[in-house]
């Protein structure tokens, strides 16, 4: 996987819906590229929440998430001169933040499974099939906290693809580029993540009803 973002193909319409242009962003980018600290601060104010949120979801720890948010924006400062506007700035910045998170997870040795393992398709690692379990239905029963907790329990590779696609709204081609994996791999990981989440949520429900 690459250590920094590279320019990508033009954004799709779907992508533009999820990442609409932000008023004043283009001017702030140009000014920040010219060395204007205030403009860089504006970019930070515009994007800090999404970058921090990604870091927090991936690490589950406020202090570590703030450290990585700081790293991501320092990377942005060093690389902003290479942004040419071929893709949405938020996508470009997110890719950069994802790389910071991935490098951190690699250094930590990934507590649950290796990211490479999670992102590498394996022939006998397809989504588990479901041929039973008619006792519970999730619809209407999950609150935000429960879902957030279940997402935290996903293996990092699944969690990253799930957050990028289902929460952040990125397309598989964008995720594939961010993670340097194939589009098919991204789709496969997303399906596995949703299946795993369903398992986790149903298990939680069973425990609640058993109490």
């Amino acid at each position: 996987m690459s250590a920094g973002p590279t320019e990508s193909k033009p954004a799709t319409h779907q992508h533009l819906r999820r990442n609409p242009p932000i008023l004043g962003e283009a001017e702030a980018i140009a000014a920040a590229q010219a060395g204007d600290e205030k403009a860089f601060e504006t970019l930070y104010a515009l994007h800090k929440r999404r970058v921090y949120s990604l870091c927090l979801r991936m690490l589950g720890n406020v202090a570590a998430a703030e450290d990585l948010t700081q790293d991501a924006f320092l990377q942005l400062y060093r690389k902003i001169g290479t942004f040419r506007g071929d893709s949405a700035f938020s996508t470009w910045l997110h890719r950069l933040a994802v790389n910071v998170v991935l490098m951190h997870l690699r250094k930590k040795g990934l507590p649950q499974i290796s990211l490479e393992e999670a992102l590498e398709p394996s022939q006998d690692d397809g989504p588990r099939k479901d041929f039973g379990g008619r006792d519970l239905q999730l619809s209407g029963s999950i609150d935000r906290v429960t879902l957030e907790r279940a997402i935290d329990d996903l293996p990092p590779g699944y969690r990253l693809v799930f957050v990028l696609h289902d929460v952040e709204g990125y397309e598989h081609n964008e995720i594939a580029e961010m993670l340097s994996c194939s589009i098919g791999n991204s789709k496969s990981q997303l399906h596995k993540a949703r299946m795993k989440l369903r398992d986790l949520l149903r298990t939680g429900q069973r425990k609640e009803t058993a109490v």
Binding site: E37, Y44, R49, S53, E66, T82, K129, D130, H172, R194
Partner: protein, 103 residues
Amino acid sequence: MTRTRFGETTLGKTIMTCADFQERLPELFETHADLSADEHLKTCENCAALVRDLEYIAQQAKLLLPIHDPSPGVWENIRTAIRNEQGSKGGPLKPPVPPAAGR
């Protein structure tokens, strides 16, 4: 409920199994196909429940918009680090621009 783990053939017509259906599921979701008209789902409550759950999870995930900001100290640290980087180079605040870059 029809539980069809293994392929079945009735009067020469092949019935899709749960395994077959679930194998196709990622692609069906991806293409936003109308699953309510799917023949297998009409007869398999188990797979119908699975689809309902997965659609529900994806819907709920969209509502998990970021709601927390980093503490103000994060920007202070970033600004200090940038100024330190610039200070060590002895110049004004200016992002390094690679030779080949630019608009």
